[in-house]
């Protein structure tokens, strides 16, 4: 693995770490399987990219991306809670609709941001080279978001959100509207995912309607990987774990792509297949371990 590839993996691991925090929030905290992320990641990229092309400040465009992501999440959550559509199906509906919406926002299936202003130009105080600056900016943003999320989950509202995922009957009988909590949590989750999308677009210099495919599977893989490596005893540790998982996942991908097995050489387009297999392995290992123990006993 070259140094560039190594730094590149860190960069991706950190920026997609924001997405993974969002996936953690829905899948783990709320117990709400949400596939909206495959649409809200490119949504964030599309909103941020289109605004920059139209001359809006890059920071402002990220704010708009966050709001757009939250709105997408809210749509999924309302479909699920108020219209009683199964959560998985509700999120697929939103994801599908977002495909068309993202093309509308960009005016075409993809946008280039070459020679357009991005947040990285205005943040380059020390004249760092781009390949170092970008991961550093991502690190700062991810750490801020992680700390804010940790703090939020320990507020009264955050506790109610956690309880909604753990035992909705209990928290309803304590006077909390679980529908409101689900709408809040799924919106927050997709806001983080859209922020990741906007940052990816600005760092890579383009936004593409297809860039969200496989996001949820990568997110899940990162969450599971991080949990098994770091553990999930407390909220603070759990959010740290999923970020570690995100970086390790991207490093593992780079390694996998750099090896040649016989005539078979993996290409970036094999990524989703590798990820899918990885998720299956991660999910079945506990079951297999259990079976092995049973046989031995």
């Amino acid at each position: 693995m070259s140094l560039y590839a190594f730094i590149g993996a860190w960069e991706q691991g950190l920026v997609y770490g924001l997405m993974v925090l969002g996936v953690y929030l829905t899948f783990r905290v709320l117990d709400f399987p949400d596939l909206t992320v495959d649409g809200s990641l490119p949504l964030g990229a599309a909103v941020s990219g289109a605004m920059i092309v139209h001359g809006v400040d890059p920071f402002l465009s990220l704010g708009a991306a966050v709001l757009a992501g939250a709105l997408a999440g809210a749509v999924t959550a309302v479909l699920s809670t108020k219209l009683r559509i199964m959560s998985l199906l509700a999120s697929i509906i939103t994801m599908t609709a977002l495909y068309s919406i993202n093309i509308r926002i960009m005016g075409r299936p993809n946008l280039t941001l070459l020679n357009k202003p991005t947040i990285f130009q205005s943040l380059n105080f020390f004249g760092m080279p781009q390949y170092l600056l970008v991961p550093c900016v991502f690190l700062v943003i991810v750490v801020i978001c992680k700390i804010l999320l940790d703090l939020f989950l320990h507020t009264q509202m955050g506790l109610a959100l956690q309880a909604t995922g753990d035992n909705p009957q209990m928290i309803r009988s304590q006077g909390v509207n679980t529908d409101t909590m689900i709408i809040l949590g799924v919106s927050l989750s997709n806001a983080l995912v859209a922020l990741a999308g906007g940052l990816v677009a600005q760092s890579q210099g383009f936004a593409d309607v297809g860039m969200g495919i496989g996001t949820i599977v990568a997110g899940l893989a990162s969450v599971i990987l991080g949990e098994s490596l770091v553990g999930s005893h407390s909220v603070v540790r759990h959010t740290f774990a999923v970020l570690v998982g995100s970086v390790v996942y991207r490093l593992a991908i780079v390694v996998a792509l750099s090896y040649q097995v016989g005539v078979l050489r993996l290409t970036p387009s094999d990524l989703n297949l590798i990820t899918a297999v990885l998720v299956v392995i991660c999910l079945t290992v506990p079951l297999l371990r259990e079976k092995m123990r049973f046989k031995r006993a």
């Binding site: 009264q156 509202m157 209990m170 304590q174």
Partner: protein
Amino acid sequence: MLEISNLTKTFNRGSINEVTAIRSLSCFVNKGDFVTVIGSNGAGKSTLLNLVAGSYLPDEGVIRLGGRDVTTWPEHKRAAYIGRVFQNPLSGTCASMSIEENFAMASRRGRGVRLKWGVTRRDRAFFKDKLRLLGLGLEHRLKDKVGLLSGGQRQSLTLLMATLRRPRLLLLDEHTAALDPRTAQQVLQLTAEIIREMELTAVMVTHNMRHALELGNRLIMMHQGRIIMDVAGEKKSALSVQDLLHEFSNLRGDEIADDKLLLI
């Protein structure tokens, strides 16, 4: 305090499985009443509590709580007035969260949640005082996850949580049925103490006739969605298990062969 008039609830209406769980039931619970409710399986006891708590909405009838018509209020809104303990010891607490976090949520019952710190130092001192009453040593385990505790411990916690802020009405739905006899007795004793000390209005559903007679100042017997017996005060004190069994056989005729469903 609690006023129920002409309440009717039918499940699976219009299908082959249609069951009328509550049939135009009316009942008035006075402030300070401690009502025990008995009846065989399917009598509608739990459905009645769920209707009062707002877990289900009735087909017909009116429920008034402290003078307010709450018939169409959702469950979380009624929670401001109602404390609940469920039959399943796992239902009343969050397993993945700590004891203090569970208590913190209970201490916000009916007051709404804000973006303020969830568990403060002052909360902790208050929770410790409350937990000490249990005598289970849980006051030293505030940070432990509730999932680590036994069913009896969790049910005791749920009871404390339901009464952490004084509820206008305490609903207990066979809350000792899933516990072993010794633990059940302890939880029951705690229930009686809390209700007496806080002077609560309470409705306790039970399968156990002895418990129904020992506790409370009023006893209601339900059968097929109706109240078939309602005694209070000295008349209740004079009742025995034999009287209750007799009452059952009178009203149910040949169905008394079913009396395994009733625990003595």
